[in-house]
Every structure is written in structure tokens, then in C-alpha cells.
């Protein structure tokens, strides 16, 4: 017998996990990777400042009810909070999302991923989960915590008994905002190998649609053309969910249709762009 044990390559004798869980591996690695960036952590902290401001507002109105005349605590508080967080949704979408697929395309990582036992949908789901996680952490999570803060300070469920739509509206409104932003950003990220280009493209889409809405409103004199603006469509749906007066003349169904259409378009782009091989005609 050889006195030296062969410590080179050896066959694996352990267990293997069932197929279909790879998206959790991708999501976990993506989330850990973002938490390792100091600049991103600063951005996350900044995104929670509005929550602190709103919590102080709730505390002040609870302690001094006359303050409620200026800063009322009702469904509009939560609706406004989610709308305010849109700016952080924008920045986090760019910071986290622009490189999610673009970096993999730049480094030819797609063929590495897709040579493993995972479907393209699992890859996309993993990448999407990274963005959804962080966007939810600055919209859904603080909004729900505001509910707990309000219930805690008010020592009761009076507001929510009178407005039972608040919690479902928070969940749905946040979910719609982050889902639309995530799919749109992921689709744009799959179009390029440059994160900067993706960031510029996303910014362009947001600002161009806003500018277009402004111009069309100026020309037509009505806000019925708000459907061209991504932000206006999201606000319109949020208003309906929180049972608030509509901010635009665009029918709700049109806004909803535009948002669904954008998600479908994004899925279509992802289906075409996320492939193990890129065939250039």
C-alpha cells in the first residue's frame, strides 16, 4: 500500500439537493453581494429616514390630537408615504438592478449559469428576487411598520377598523410598484453589457415618459393623457387601492392595462435575451 494518500480530485459521495432551488442560491448571493457595499448601505439608511419622519408625525398627532388638523393620520398618510418612497425605488432599482443581468452578459456568465441544472425562469426569478427584496425593504416593509407604529401609539385598531382597505392597499400598492420597476429594470439590464448604459436607459424611460405627459397635458389641457407616464399610472392605481380621489383623468383600467402591458413586454424581452447562446444574425 502506498504510504501517501491521494488527495487530488475525488468523486463526490454526499447528497444533492432537488432541482428547482437554484433561484434561491442566485437570490442569496445577490443579496449578500449588495449588503457588502457600503455605499448601498448608506442608500438603504437614507431610504428609511422618511419612515422615521412619518413615525414622529404619528407620535405627535397621537400625543397632540390638534396636530391632526395639519397632519391627518388616515389612508392618505400611507398612500403618500409609499409615493414618497418612489424616489428610493428609482435609485435602488438603478443601483441594484442595472448590473443584475448586464454584468453577467459582460462576463459571459449566462452560459455558466445555464449549463447548470436550472431553467432560464429560475435564473430570472433569482435575479428578480434580489431587486424585489431590496425594493420591498424600502416600500412594503417600512409602510407595514408604520401601521404597527400607528397601532402602537394609538393603542388600538380604530383607524384600521374605520379604513379596512389600508393594509391590503399598502401590500398591493407596494407590490405593484416594485414588481413593475423590477421587471422593467431587469429587462433593460438584459439589453446591454454596460451597467451605465442600463442606468441611463432606465432614467431616460422614467423621465421621458414624465416629460411626454407634461407636454401632452399642456397641448390637450387634460390629464387624461397620464397613461403615457409610468409614475402617473402607478399613482393612479395607488389612489384607487387606498380609495383616494383619482389624481388624473385617465381611467383606472387604462393605467392598469399600461402597467400589465409593461410587465408583459419586459417578460418578452427577458425571454429573448436570457439565453445560453447569443445568435447574431
Amino acid at each position: 500500500m502506498s504510504p501517501i494518500h491521494d488527495q487530488s480530485y475525488r468523486r463526490y459521495q454526499g447528497t444533492r439537493l432537488p432541482l428547482g432551488r437554484s433561484w434561491t442560491v442566485i437570490a442569496g448571493a445577490g443579496i449578500r453581494g449588495m449588503f457588502a457595499r457600503k455605499l448601498f448601505l448608506i442608500l438603504l439608511v437614507l431610504a428609511w429616514i422618511p419612515f422615521i419622519v412619518r413615525a414622529v408625525q404619528i407620535y405627535a398627532v397621537t400625543m397632540y390630537p390638534q396636530a391632526g388638523q395639519i397632519l391627518p393620520i388616515d389612508a392618505s398618510l400611507f398612500r403618500d408615504f409609499i409615493e414618497q418612497q418612489s424616489i428610493f425605488v428609482f435609485f435602488i432599482s438603478i443601483y441594484v438592478g442595472s448590473g443584475l443581468i448586464a454584468n453577467d452578459r459582460r462576463a459571459n456568465a449566462l452560459q455558466i449559469y445555464l449549463s447548470k441544472p436550472l431553467l432560464r425562469t429560475e435564473y430570472i426569478a433569482g435575479k428578480l428576487a434580489v431587486l424585489l427584496f431590496f425594493l420591498a425593504s424600502v416600500t412594503l416593509l417600512p409602510a407595514l411598520m408604520l401601521v404597527f407604529v400607528e397601532v402602537g401609539f394609538a393603542a388600538g385598531f380604530g383607524l384600521h377598523a374605520a379604513n379596512p382597505q389600508i393594509v391590503p392597499a399598502i401590500i398591493l400598492s407596494s407590490a405593484i410598484r416594485i414588481t413593475v420597476a423590477s421587471f422593467a429594470m431587469l429587462a433593460l439590464s438584459s439589453l446591454s453589457k454596460s451597467t451605465r448604459y442600463v442606468a441611463v436607459l432606465y432614467t431616460g424611460v422614467i423621465f421621458f415618459t414624465e416629460a411626454m405627459y407634461g407636454v401632452l397635458t399642456f397641448i390637450t389641457g387634460t390629464t387624461a393623457v397620464a397613461w403615457v407616464s409610468l409614475g402617473a399610472n402607478l399613482d393612479q392605481v395607488s389612489d384607487a387601492l387606498f380609495r383616494q380621489p383619482a389624481g388624473y383623468d385617465t381611467p383606472l383600467v387604462v393605467s392598469a392595462f399600461v402597467l400589465v402591458g409593461l410587465v408583459i413586454l419586459s417578460v418578452s424581452v427577458l425571454e429573448r435575451r436570457v439565453r445560453g447562446v447569443e445568435i447574431v444574425s
Binding site: Q7, S8, Y9, R10, R11, Y12, G14, T15, R16, L17, P18, L19, R21, S22, V25, I26, A29, G33, G99, N103, D104, R106, A107, N108, A109, Q111, I112, Y113, L114, S115, K116, P117, L118, L119, R275, G276, V277, I279, S281
Partner: protein, 310 residues
């Protein structure tokens, strides 16, 4: 296991360009070389076997499983080393390889342990904590092999594994490939246009040319019996001499040097008969034979005969 890979009448097309044309081939277990010039369809075949490109017609089978029906089960059991550089941005080597192990279904702790082992095996043990973006070309080739090996595949697809490597690195990579195939029991398909690489590492070969199989079989069998190939260098006009050789039923092709390799078909006669015939043909063609030596048939001869570069 009967056959590692089976292709039945497979056609793969990129638009109007058919990269594989009605290809039928069998890759037995062990080390099989997929040989062919650039553009022959080697990489396309590997990508079709991975399920990246659906064939227009035909059927592909890997490890007894239908590629169209069970692509994930197949990918769980194979390792793929792509031709072009590929890595996950922002990761060091050990994180990357462990990540690939997890993607292939290994538990996290096992994947990390295997990553360390495999990186030592491919010679990156000391560099395993370095960011992949800082790796040299040779190191990138090794890391690609490591990520393909980490989950202990039953079959490895190696696409041009020595591309861009210096001679020392190339030799080490070929040693690794040979060791995997012959000592570690890993079946592999080595796609390459480099004949010596395939000849050194593989037992079988499938020669592709212009999307069709030009030859296939055990290398030793394809090379034929030794001593029937001759290296010939002559002075004078080559054209009539080559024509005379062809007329006499011999095949010849030129190597990179000014030496021709002449194949003499048929049973060997008395010692020296072949050489005498070559010299007689040279004399008849009015060229001087400056060099004539019996040679061992190489894969280069098989390749040249198969794709008709004589």
C-alpha cells in the same frame, strides 16, 4: 453505461446556415476527442447537447437521457467548460466555484469544501482568494475547468480547454484532462482543433468537418498499423510527383514543414518495398528524394484524410 452521447440525424441551423447537417454519431464512455477545423460545428454540437440550441431535426441523447425531454437531469450530471472566458463578476475563485457547486445542487457546506479541493486539483490553490477579474488567461482556463468539475459530473464537455495558454500551462492542462479521463473515471468530450491535444488525452475521436462527421472511432484504429506512413522530402517539381503517387494509389499531404507524409495502402510487402516504390516514382517524376523515413501514423494523418486536405 453504454454510450455517453448519441446523436441521430441531428441538424442545427442558425437561420439559413446549417452548422450541423444530419449528424449521426456515438461517443463511447471514456475520453473522446471532437476534432475539426474552426467552424466545423464542434461548439454548436456541445451547445446542442447542453440544450442551448434546439436541433431543427434529429435526436440527442446524453448519458442515456433525451436532451429535449430531460435537459435539467442531464445538466445536473455534466460539467461544461465553455470556450470563451466566463465568470460571475465580483467573486473570488473559491466563492465562484462554490457558487457553481450550489447551482448544480450541492449543499452549501459541501460546495465550499469541494471548491477548495477542486481548486487545488486544477492548480489554483494558492490563488483561490483572488478576484477572478485579476486572473491571467491560463488561470481563467483553469477556473473554468474547476467550475465544471465541482459537482463531480459524470461527463465533462471541454470546449478548446487549452486556448490561449502558454506551453507549460497547456501541458499542465492536458495532464489534468488526461488524469481525469484515465485515473479519475470521468468521461469527457474534448472539443479541439489541436490534434496533439486530442491525441494525447483521448482514446476515441469524432472528426467533424463542415457540419458533418468525417470520421470516427478509436484513435489507434483510425491511425491504422504503424510503419505504413512515410515522411518524404524531395527536390524538384512536386506536382508530377504528387500526381504519380496518387496514380500509384498512395495518398500524400504536406505538413507545416516542407515534408510530405505519404500513406501507402494495402498489406505491407517485403521490408523496403514501399520505400523502393516511392523512390521509383520520384525518379520517374524527375525529382530527387532528399529524405525518406518510415513514420508512425498520427491523428494528423487521420484528420487530413478525413477532411480531404491532401
Amino acid at each position: 453505461m453504454s454510450n455517453a452521447v448519441v446523436l441521430e440525424h441531428v441538424t442545427v441551423a442558425y437561420g439559413n446556415n446549417r452548422a450541423l447537417r444530419e449528424v449521426s454519431a456515438v461517443f463511447p464512455p471514456g475520453a473522446v476527442g471532437l476534432l475539426g477545423p474552426n467552424g466545423a460545428g464542434k461548439s454548436t454540437m456541445l451547445k446542442a447537447l447542453l440544450g442551448f440550441i434546439p436541433p431543427a431535426t434529429g435526436r440527442l441523447e446524453v448519458l442515456g437521457l433525451d436532451v429535449a425531454a430531460r435537459p435539467l437531469d442531464i445538466r445536473a450530471r455534466i460539467g461544461y467548460m465553455p470556450e470563451i472566458d466566463g465568470h460571475i463578476p465580483g467573486m473570488n475563485a473559491v466563492t465562484f466555484v462554490a457558487y457553481c457547486g450550489q447551482l448544480a445542487g450541492l449543499p452549501r457546506s459541501d460546495a465550499m469544501q469541494r471548491a477548495h479541493e477542486v481548486l487545488y486539483y486544477v492548480g489554483l490553490g494558492e490563488a483561490r482568494y483572488r478576484n477572478l477579474e485579476t486572473y491571467s488567461t491560463g488561470m481563467k482556463q483553469r477556473i473554468k475547468l474547476a467550475q465544471a468539475l465541482v459537482h463531480d459530473p459524470d461527463l465533462l464537455f471541454l470546449d478548446e480547454p487549452t486556448n490561449g495558454m502558454d506551453p507549460k500551462g497547456r501541458d499542465e492542462m492536458l495532464e489534468l484532462v488526461r488524469d481525469l479521463a484515465h485515473n479519475k473515471g470521468v468521461n469527457l468530450i474534448l472539443s479541439s482543433h489541436l490534434l496533439p491535444d486530442v491525441e494525447y488525452t483521448c482514446d476515441h475521436v469524432v472528426v467533424l468537418d463542415k457540419g458533418v462527421v468525417a470520421a470516427s472511432g478509436p484513435i489507434e484504429q483510425l491511425k491504422g498499423p504503424p510503419g505504413r506512413v512515410y515522411e518524404v522530402r524531395v527536390k524538384g517539381h512536386l506536382t508530377p510527383f504528387v500526381a504519380a503517387l496518387h496514380d500509384a494509389g498512395m495518398e500524400c499531404h504536406q505538413t507545416d514543414e516542407d515534408v510530405m507524409r505519404v500513406f501507402v495502402p494495402g498489406d505491407p510487402g517485403r521490408p523496403g518495398d514501399d520505400q523502393r516504390r516511392v523512390c521509383e516514382l520520384a525518379a520517374a517524376s524527375q525529382v530527387q528524394v532528399r529524405h525518406l523515413r518510415a513514420s508512425v501514423p498520427t491523428l494528423e494523418d487521420v484528420f487530413a484524410r478525413a477532411i480531404g486536405e491532401s
